[in-house]
């Protein structure tokens, strides 16, 4: 499981000064201690066993959601956390991140996202959908499985916010961090494996709430599925609670709090405890430092993982048939209903329920072509283009009816 690495050069950490609340003197961060990423050859492992577990704060240098998810996964798979717990801090360029068993079409406006250059990603942990941008801080707490404790981690964050800015926050019954007026400032999820586990959460510092609202807007899309669904919740930024809260300071403040907290009892052990830990470290997530990272990243970025992994679903829409397509003596409105079954992101079947008047009118033959040309296609705009091509090769008396069906099909796929 663990990989041994060739020891590289030491990365010097910039000094982050924090004013100690109690004694009002600056706490200069000691220069970063060298950390070998391997498990069995941990530097000072003898010391670690005698002194107990040590802690590190890793800060990712990447803002790419797929790279950061890959880094998180790499640590989960390869690192031995027995005597060394890690807090990973990371931020991403705008992205919507869905939970492992969710449906991206249901959780977000996929068309809107691609228009605005917002990525859509699927993480490995459970839970609901969140929106990330540079005003959001992600925290991942890594421990061996038996020392996993979401509550301890959230309490640590609350303590840091109180200590640095006097902010009073609480942990809700659903184990999210909320402000005094019960608006969510953080979302939490976890992955439990053996021997490793992680709990990760977001912290809304200064996120673009307008973009967040647009990206996550849900409306009735006619989708039926047993995928897990998000529970929408009103959110607020930390900077709304206190305008002095800034990302850089927050990183340091939470990092310090993490380092001074006992890994097992979760008690605050004071400033002196920090000197026994491994300190802060900037991480450059590349394949050179983390062999196999590129492969993990490619998987996270793949269509198959992001869309194909969705639990199977069907989507149904109905459309009123334009009068001109029906026979002249037709008095009532007629509806065309389309149900598309999607499994692993691919169209499995299409059910067209054609009103009798449309079907009877000069022999509507588009049905079979619709179904066969769509089956096996990825559930996307491309599928509709294929369909249109297939139907356009039919004889012209059928054209307007076929075009209508294609138009409806396109509506189903693109509007969700």
């Amino acid at each position: 499981m663990a990989q041994n690495f060739v020891q590289g050069s030491i990365v010097k950490l910039q000094r982050i000064a924090i004013t100690g609340m109690k004694r009002n003197k600056p706490l200069a961060l000691s220069s970063m201690k060298f950390c070998n990423y391997s498990s069995s050859a941990q530097q000072g492992s003898e010391e670690a066993k005698v002194a107990g577990t040590v802690k590190s704060v890793f800060i990712s240098q990447s803002n790419d959601i797929f790279t950061n998810l890959a880094l998180e996964d790499w640590l989960y798979r390869n690192f031995d956390f027995t005597n060394h717990h890690i807090l990973l801090l990371w931020q991403n360029s705008p992205a919507v991140v869905i939970g492992r068993h969710q449906n991206p079409w249901l959780e977000a406006n996929t068309a809107v996202l691609s228009e605005h250059g917002i990525e859509i990603a699927r993480r490995n942990s459970g839970g609901g959908t969140v929106y990330h941008d540079r005003g959001n801080l992600n925290l991942t707490f890594f421990t061996p499985r038996e020392h996993y404790s979401r509550k301890n981690n959230l309490q640590l964050i609350c303590r840091a916010l109180l200590r640095e800015w006097g902010l009073k926050t609480e942990i809700s019954p659903r184990e999210d961090i909320v402000s005094g007026n019960y608006k969510q400032i953080s979302g939490t999820a976890a992955k439990l494996g053996r021997p490793n586990a992680y709990h990760h959460c977001t912290l809304l510092v200064d996120v673009d709430k307008v973009k967040l609202g647009h990206a996550l807007h849900k409306h009735n899309k006619g989708i039926k599925t047993n995928a897990t669904q998000s529970i929408p919740s009103p959110v607020m930024n930390l900077c709304d609670l206190n305008s002095h809260v800034k990302m850089e300071k927050l990183l340091a403040s939470i990092g310090w709090e993490y380092l001074r907290t006992d890994p097992y009892s979760a008690e605050d052990k004071g400033e002196d405890f920090i000197g026994k830990q491994r300190g802060f470290q900037f991480i450059n997530p590349t394949d050179q430092w983390f062999p196999g990272l590129e492969k993990l990243r490619a998987e996270f970025a793949s269509w198959g993982w992001r869309f194909g992994k969705s639990p199977k679903f069907n989507v149904t829409r109905t459309f009123r048939v334009p009068r001109e397509l029906l026979s002249k003596d037709e008095l009532t409105d007629q509806e065309l209903s389309i149900t598309i079954d999607v499994n692993k992101g691919v169209v499995e079947d299409v059910l067209l329920t054609v009103p009798p008047r449309l079907a009877a009118a000069k022999g509507f033959s588009g049905q079979a072509q619709v179904v066969t040309s769509l089956r096996g296609q990825q559930f996307s705009e491309e599928a509709i283009t294929m369909l249109q091509k297939a139907l356009s090769e039919l004889e012209s008396p059928e054209q307007t009816r076929n075009e209508f069906v294609v138009h409806c099909m396109r509506q189903v796929v693109t509007s969700i």
Binding site: R100, H101, S125, R150, K191, L192, N226, T228
Partner: protein, 143 residues
């Protein structure tokens, strides 16, 4: 080998016939019938998970090795990995559980079974724990 399982030869191939479940230290159980094993999670595991909201089971035809991650169970906000107790090929998954994941909490040994495999290496069974060994294991700190 325990008194409750017996070992017999059948046309040159060896089969284990177990009348009780065997357990892993990851809290999965497997019940063998000839060359087929039915896999599920123990009461301890389902209790620790909390209400299961989604079960992601391995697809039929998947080749799995002992201890491989082969699926996940999602409970409130935590996705827990499922590990395969023995090596084999998945021959069936429990559609009822996919439809109603709560079955795992309600009946983890009966209706809440997860998937069935055709064993490729029956000798691995020796490495698993019997029910009484598993019960002792639960009493130690190691779990």
């Amino acid at each position: 080998m325990t008194p409750s399982s017996f070992y017999h030869e059948n046309g040159g191939r060896k089969f284990f016939q177990n009348v009780e479940r065997m357990y892993t230290n990851k809290h999965e159980w497997i019940l063998i019938d000839g060359k087929t094993g039915t896999v599920g999670i123990s009461h301890y595991a389902q209790d620790a998970l909390g209400d299961v909201v989604y079960a992601q089971l391995p697809d039929v035809g998947t080749e799995v090795l002992k201890k491989d991650e082969c699926g996940a169970l999602e409970s409130v906000k935590a996705a827990s990995e499922l590990y395969c107790p023995l090596s084999g090929r998945v021959i069936e998954k429990n559609a009822a559980v996919e439809e109603t994941p709560a079955l795992i909490n309600q009946s983890c040994y009966e209706k809440g079974w997860l998937f069935k495999i055709e064993l490729t290496n029956p000798d691995e069974l020796k490495e698993l724990m019997t029910e009484s060994e598993y019960e002792n294991f639960l009493k130690t700190d190691a779990h």
